[in-house]
Symmetry: D3
Subunit: 315 residues, 6 copies
């Protein structure tokens, strides 16, 4: 995507939050069921990984991994991570970075996904409205049935689950994720007030209308293809999506944040990342990768993010 966006850093979003945005989420997050987080060690070598189950949206069970350095006896800061679109929590030995770095690491499964590039184990009970293949249009005709309502509620619950584990210091929890994981990071940062840090990378789910206009790849085009068939539903669809826009979550966040944006990103175009970054209400830093596509900063940014988390956890 050479220079398809002429000046993404100065892009001004037209996204506006619905008036009842906050009450919608307050209602969504008033869970009736107990969290009931359970942890079972399943991979115990130099790193120990626990199989995690907790009650997410609607009391439905959601899976995760919790990894810690073996032999840990004191409470550790914890990184809660959300996967990219189509992926799941994978296998236990895929969750090593943050535990190897000396932290606890909870990696949440995303309901229904996990058959595209990393396996997942969490079902998504849903109403079954007609949808475009993929997850972007599942239940999209109403905010109350939209797929990401359930996923974001799960993500908030994942932070709660991390905090109840005896090896996790509940006062030092950070959230992170790449792409969809970055969008969920923003959502949680906007909904959970007492995080110590948020690190969204090449975030998805930001300024949906812009994403539909400019993204030639990735999941935004699922919305475009749906609207190319259901030509009379654009207003209704974007009304729904406004409740799930990372830009609006960013405007409600307070924890320090480290963003990353890749200037040749065709899936999450840089302007959409900048829209969220500019809106972010807490302290914020930004790493820009001018020559990368949606892969973003990868291992290079892992190192940057680890330093950012070290700082956040040691404050």
């Amino acid at each position: 995507m050479p220079i398809s966006e002429t000046d993404p850093a100065s892009y001004v979003t037209a996204a506006r939050a619905p008036e009842d945005f906050d009450s919608f989420w307050a209602s969504t997050l008033s869970f009736d069921e107990p969290l009931d987080a359970r942890f079972e060690p399943v991979w115990a070598r130099a790193i120990t990984v626990h199989d995690v189950t907790f009650n997410g949206f609607g009391g439905q069970p959601v899976k995760a991994w919790l990894a810690v350095p073996t032999g840990t006896t004191t409470r550790l800061p914890c990184v809660v991570e959300f996967p990219g679109y189509g992926g799941g929590r994978g296998l236990p030995h895929q969750c090593l970075l943050y535990a190897a770095a000396g932290y606890a690491h909870l990696f949440m499964d995303v309901r229904g996904q996990g058959s595209g590039w990393r396996a997942g184990d969490t079902p998504d009970a849903n109403a079954g409205d007609p949808q475009h293949p993929g997850f972007m249009t599942r239940g999209v005709l109403d905010p109350s049935t939209y797929y990401y309502r359930r996923v974001i509620a799960d993500a908030v619950r994942a932070v709660q689950a991390a905090r109840v584990h005896p090896l996790v210091d509940p006062t030092r929890v950070a959230v992170t994720g790449i792409s969809q994981g970055g969008g969920l990071t923003l959502a949680v940062a906007g909904l959970v007030p007492d995080l110590v840090a948020a690190a969204p990378d090449v975030p998805f789910l930001c300024d949906f209308r812009r994403g539909c206009d400019v993204a030639p790849a990735g999941p935004y085009p699922e919305l475009v293809r749906y609207l190319a068939i259901h030509r009379d539903r654009a207003e209704r669809v974007f009304d729904t999506l406004a409740y799930f826009d990372g830009v609006h979550f960013a405007a409600r966040a307070t924890s320090p944040a480290l963003f990353s944006i890749a200037l040749m990103d065709e899936s999450c175009p840089p302007s959409t990342g900048y829209a969220a970054y500019h809106a972010y209400a807490g302290p914020r830093e930004l790493s820009v990768y001018p020559f990368n596509g949606h892969e973003g900063g990868e291992a290079t940014h892992d190192a940057v993010r680890l330093r950012f988390l070290d700082d956040a956890f040691s404050r």
Copy 2:
């Protein structure tokens, strides 16, 4: 796909029906709820199209159109048609061919689909197991939850719905469809004994294992991509799919059939169509289109199929 299959006409399938295939379907088709078919005219010009609603699998409402020549006063033979993968019933003025030809025409919506190329209106309530984008892997870990169990039950119900309309002659019903519609045609032909004709075109849902091995395009690769992630589930998945294989339905069909196969078809490779054709237990004819891909015979074959139906309806 030039000559990628060296001799599809002589391909011998390895597909075998499960022992309880027939009891599985007998059980599935013992509907608890009444059919409750309702017909409301919504497009009344020289052709009249009715909005149809009937109770499909699980008593869930399924939509369809019923088109007849305006002014019809006697019972007409009826063509029941099923859409291709990703499509729905569309708009009423898209269902004109068979009514223009002088017949009644019921065009069934496919639950959950109808956002890929022609709009649909029928939800698919489902259990929500993780799935690959699309419909091929929805509930695929068990025959009782597999997506196509619900769709095929709906298709049997659609024939029942057609038969109760006062302008339809219930003794003269034929089924047809292209691609997924062809696969559903075979399923209904194998499950409903008293049809006067079946006309599956470039049928999908036939010999799934072969389809996974040879199809470079279309929906078979959804299964491949799912199994590329869930590497340990191949046996379980193909055990499920065996209950839904057009080859096995074909072996149970008795009505006269007209097949079409396109030799350059990359989505429904010709060998898979031949597998069903060779297995077909009733009288059968075949139109081969050597220079076509998955579009198959299109309007040329519409004319062939009309003549075939004329014969079947006048017997």
Copy 3:
């Protein structure tokens, strides 16, 4: 084509009509040969379709279908339609929409085409100058030999042919078509003064120079590839094309028009459609499809266009 044109609705064309534009067309349309329209019923069911032959440009025979509801006894309003690039009139049962809607429908074949996606039956006798594959550069070095001179003359004759049929009300004729059919619709609307309506969809043949600059797909690039070889002929080619530009025909039209434009159209970029729309001299309406490519509004717009035609025919 995500956002490749930054603001197509405000695009200002640089196209200018040649001074002798009107005399060129007056001369072209002073036919020497009689029209000699013949109609033979070939498909007679609930809709009756006639095989039509009339004398087009140079007195050469041009084919068409004429469809009417069977049993019609009074003169009907008539829709004259022109096919898209590469297509022909197809088979009789492909022309059902407008007859099913209660109108007469004449669908013209396009000379020489009809081997790309819908079969055609009309030859194009031509001078044989070297050309790029396709029809865009056939005879393009001179307006008198350019391919579309013959086609547009045929299209004007098609309206005349429709008007002479005893079931057609000659005072209520409308023209329509998609893509190339939309371009021909504009041409006929600019050349035939007494139409009751014109409905060009995603029109091709508008502002050729702009089309060459921005269209990554479709037939405009045939011109680009020709000029990439014949590097010294650009001026001459665009001088020829100026006699065939839908923008100039639009500026001469008077009948009420319904346009459609698709904002992600890579074959007929939206700016070229807006150029014609802004130039249109008669009353005009516009349907914009923001999430569609060159397929445009499809069945959704068929419904819009039918309502527009209903209004036009009932005025």
Copy 4:
């Protein structure tokens, strides 16, 4: 196209010549008009290139270049060359190789082509039947109107034109060409008895049915796409093509031949080249390029071919 043909060298063609093949060509080559070859020097430096015009099929003027080393005073052996599909004679300074090698070189234009990759200047008057874009289906419903009847007649005339130039030794004429030029080389070798050599490279126009079955690129697919629309014309089309098949011309040739075949050729698949090579009735040699696609041997084979021509001319 890695190994798409499993063993092309042993491919056995099913192509059979029509009974009246020879009389068809005898009739076609009984020209009524005089040859009337004219030569005008247009580029005179160390090589001199003449603009050539002669009467081809139907007496229509055909262009060519004739290049000789400047200062030549004695009759030279002459190489007559035909261009590849879509190309023309180009500009005079593009015809240097054989003159630089010390021979006369006549490079024929191909009527109607010359807008795809090298410019051409020769019109093709034709009957104008509907055709697929390109030249493969122009007039293909009858041998007498098929495009290549005119082109092959032109090619025979081009040899006659070369022979009448005062600097050409008419007893030492060879023919050559790449791709379409190779197909025309075979045609001329089969129709003109007294050539001293023929050098067809990666020849096109050989075993059309096989080409349609296996070629994923190049012009054979034009036939496939035409037959994909005109589904009922396959027999008629292949009956026509049988009069133009390089395999049948090869079986009538007597001059020594050097073939080249590229094993990864997707446009002129190796089996089609082998079909012609095996059929060739004169002495024959073959250069196989196992790692090349349709570009074949290029400059490497130019050197091989020059040595072959040196031998042929010095016999």
Copy 5:
């Protein structure tokens, strides 16, 4: 690559080792310079990663990482791993799996590479013969100058480097790698006699001629493109490659091996993997992934390989 190889498991290679294969490698591995392995901790958290430098081929410095669980005090079994084509050792925190599993892990950099997908730090001094972009043809005209001679010598040295570290048990060293890493694994397994295990995954560098014939993707086509230009060098190139063929190294290996092969692998086609597997002279196991491309078994196979290594290390 659906079923492009009809029966890869029964493919019989034609590859033959040169007579002086063993003396060539004996000579290559008689290093003049001391190994001089240096280890410097650079990432010390729950896992400690050392920056490693040792003298590889020609005494040139080669980089690696050595990772161990922090706090290790006894000698550990060690996994020596080689990267895939185009990759390097990356950053220290990318080498976590085997240390997290409780082993030492040496990950070798590949000279000159490490700019394609994971960064590398090791230069490749070379003679500079013309080459195709990439590494496959660097110095390919002679075994003594071929790029992989240097890389394989480095890989043998990497095992030696691992063995001298005080936390590594030199009697329990295994080798592994994916793709190019799998090819190097086979080379080391054939050249180093006392390894406890070898685990080549989807191995590259096996049966080069077959790879050139059937691989549509990956680095084998670099050879094809080189030979497409240097048409007269095929024999010389394949004579060189015979000294580096994993099939011949496999025939000399004795340690227990776990192979993996993916049946839809377009870069390292399954037949080439089977060629090496069938030739392998030691005890061998095989995991086949029927629905995967070149990604192979990924995390699923990581678990299989870990169990295989656990067994090997505990014998």
Copy 6:
């Protein structure tokens, strides 16, 4: 690339030459070794081509061809030409145009290249730092080791080699080349003061940063991909490239120049060509090809360039 650059002709480059640009090149061009140009005739027909060897950068032997009309006895003006990226001098009979036009023609090989599309014979001894496949990043971390330092020095030496041949008039030497050859033409024009003309076509190696930003094809993306992995080296890489930028060479040139630019060029985007054209310090002309991609003016421009050279040589 339809209109991807909105107004390339008015693009203003941000490229700035390093302060020591001139001293860097003065030092590079102070050759220690004698030129030692040797000429051996290898193809002697109407054109005679000599195999040329001279000492290039570091005294390393560089190959070329020198072609002249056979029988030449007086000193001729000479065209020195440099090949495009990936190509070499090829075979002797590929160098005919300028000799056929009556001039001497030296065609230089490019070290290390010549395996991509035209064969080369000149090695490139180099230090071997890790690099991206291709030549753009070879030694790119320092101007003294960068690949193009050696190539540009070779190109200056090629002019010297041409001048010492007894059939070349050393006072009438012009330089030319397409793409990379155009970039080298600019470099030589900026470094050699007494040329009579320079003709860079669609020049590469101009304004590297812009090329990285906008070129979707060709070799600029090699730099992008390298920097996508080595994310921390962008400043260092562009610091190196500043010593090799055609824009800076253009600003130092004095000979009359003919540029060509193609407006749809995706490999050498028009803005980069305009950057060099606007910077050019000598008299300059420009041919713009609005409908061509990177192929540019081809034979059409050959004729333009020949006229330009005729003028230059006859002044």
